[in-house]
Symmetry: C2
Subunit: 338 residues, 2 copies
């Protein structure tokens, strides 16, 4: 039923040259005459010949596939990162197998197994929120398969990581709140065990002590990642009659949840409490007041990650795991400025 594909052998028969010369013509080998190459390529074009990638990959013992595991496909962040990866991988002739761990450690392991089975040339991963044990990843590296982590990563993994300079920008974000006049600032943090969370907490603390602001651990609350998590955290604070004059949330979704609850309880943003988000999302300009946040070069992160993978793939020797830190920008909107 399917139209038969023309192969290198067909070409060989038609052109009366050996299959090896045809292969040579397509692979820019040196030991072929320019005229014969032109002849072959021309005829190939004419007959619509396309090299069969499966055969080539079998012979070369590669798959030209890169496995990508992300915690989720919803939200704007990961799709945008992936979109950045696509740009560089498609240029280099690689294809992406995109899998979601759905924020579950168990599923994450499953996905890794799947990718191993399908013999991808490399694996790119951003950890699920549940992932604490990274032994499997390190075993993976042991077997020789290139691994790159991004955004949600873990210092114990002996692989390159591409991350935002969370420490620096958390510091600057907090500083922004302080300069705007906040004294009693709370930090809504991501799950503590995520390194991304730790780095932002450090930045927050540093800013607070730098300006001699009161800062104890009660002001740093492990909230989660969703909008609902942000709501809950805020609700608990209000029930305890605690209303900060500034909130630095570790994600836009947490920040928006906080704003919603503040407003529902009659507090005004930014007058009563200024709120700062992190990692720009499309939601930031929809909420009222519009959310100040730290924008991140999300697509850039995808590109850098993909480029790192290409480097691993093309290098003969094992590279020392490198950490690339990307810079953001503070986007001031109405939620922090009266």
């Amino acid at each position: 039923m399917r139209a038969k594909h023309i192969t290198i052998k067909d070409l060989s028969r038609i052109l009366n040259v050996s299959v090896s010369t045809i292969s040579r013509a397509f692979n820019d080998k040196s030991d072929i005459r320019k005229e014969t190459r032109k002849l072959v390529l021309q005829k190939a074009m004419e007959l619509g010949y396309r090299p069969n990638p499966m055969a080539r990959n079998l012979q070369k013992q590669i798959s030209k596939n890169i496995g990508i595991i992300v915690p989720e496909l919803i939200g704007s962040f990961f799709p945008l990162v992936i979109s950045g990866m696509e740009e560089v991988f498609s240029m280099k002739g690689y294809q992406m197998l995109i899998l979601s761990s759905y924020e579950s450690f168990e599923k994450e392991l499953e996905r890794i197994k799947t990718l191993e089975d399908s013999m991808v040339d490399g694996i790119i991963i951003s950890l699920s929120r549940e992932t604490k044990n990274v032994d499997v990843l390190n075993q993976l590296i042991q077997t020789g398969i290139p691994l790159v982590t991004f955004n949600r990563t873990n210092p114990d993994i002996k692989a390159p990581r591409i991350i935002f300079d969370d420490y620096k920008w958390a510091l600057l974000a907090t500083e922004h709140l302080i300069i705007e006049g906040c004294n009693n600032i709370y930090h809504f943090a991501l799950p503590f065990h995520l390194s991304i969370s730790k780095r932002r907490i450090e930045g927050f603390k540093k800013a607070m002590t730098k300006y001699c602001k009161h800062c104890n651990d009660l002001q740093i609350i492990e909230s989660g990642i969703s909008l609902e998590d942000g709501r809950k955290t805020m609700q608990i604070l209000i029930e305890q009659s605690i209303v900060p004059d500034g909130i630095f949330a570790s994600s836009d979704r947490l920040a928006i949840g906080a704003i919603q609850v503040l407003k529902e309880n009659g507090y005004k943003v930014p007058e009563d409490c200024r709120v700062m988000g992190f990692s720009e999302s499309t939601l930031a300009t929809i909420i009222e007041p519009q959310l100040s946040t730290v924008t991140q070069p999300t697509k850039e992160m995808g590109k850098k990650t993909a480029e790192m993978m290409i480097r691993l793939l093309e290098s003969e020797v094992a590279l020392e795991p490198e950490t690339i830190k990307l810079n953001g920008k503070i986007k001031v909107r109405q939620s922090t400025r009266v």
Copy 2:
């Protein structure tokens, strides 16, 4: 450098059986003794043998890859659809190659070519906003490669389509506005040449005439797809001193743009103008007032699309292109109810 993979030949040597029996053991063939199968499988497990997919695919002349082309990866819609597809494809051992056309016709053609080159077993596509000519797709079908379209499709394509019952739900959405008391309703439409747009317009018209409401073509405005497009359309209306008492927007983003501009100009939603969106997005509950909209089983659409592809793949004979219409639900929030 890379750890050598154990092959069927290694197993053959170790177990002292032929390669064909091993292959038989793994493929549930009938002509093999239960004990030998068990023996083989056990040893394979022990040595961590995994069939090489490239070799298998070359032999079977398939790739176990499905190409997927979507207009964009940002926004919640397409990632969610893809997430639905993933569920069924990963069950069936297929992998997805996800490519984005970035809403560009030219890029779309490029992507199709890429997928042909990589010899995917089937192609799933949702058209870019620019796509009017679908000859390439029909040629593709001619060559025998299974094609399934979803959401943004085109009646000229001779392939199955999985769509929402846009006509019906546009009708019901408009009806909802009418029942809530609107008389002068405007429809912010997607680009007219998209069939999805046409169907919703028909639904809108039908509802208006059914209730004997005044409805001329000026009330149906080709707006675009983005939030910015929604803002522009609303702005133009207001500049003409036209303020409808109801707006049915063909996407949540258009609706939110409209709401923003209405509010900026001192109009109240829903008191002065009720606004109805279409195709639930995460933005709907962030905007104030929260947006009434037509929710769609987005993930379900992905599943159904993938299942249709599997059917094409597994069927020997060519199937008559079928159209599957999915139902939605009207979600009433504050933007349409006082």
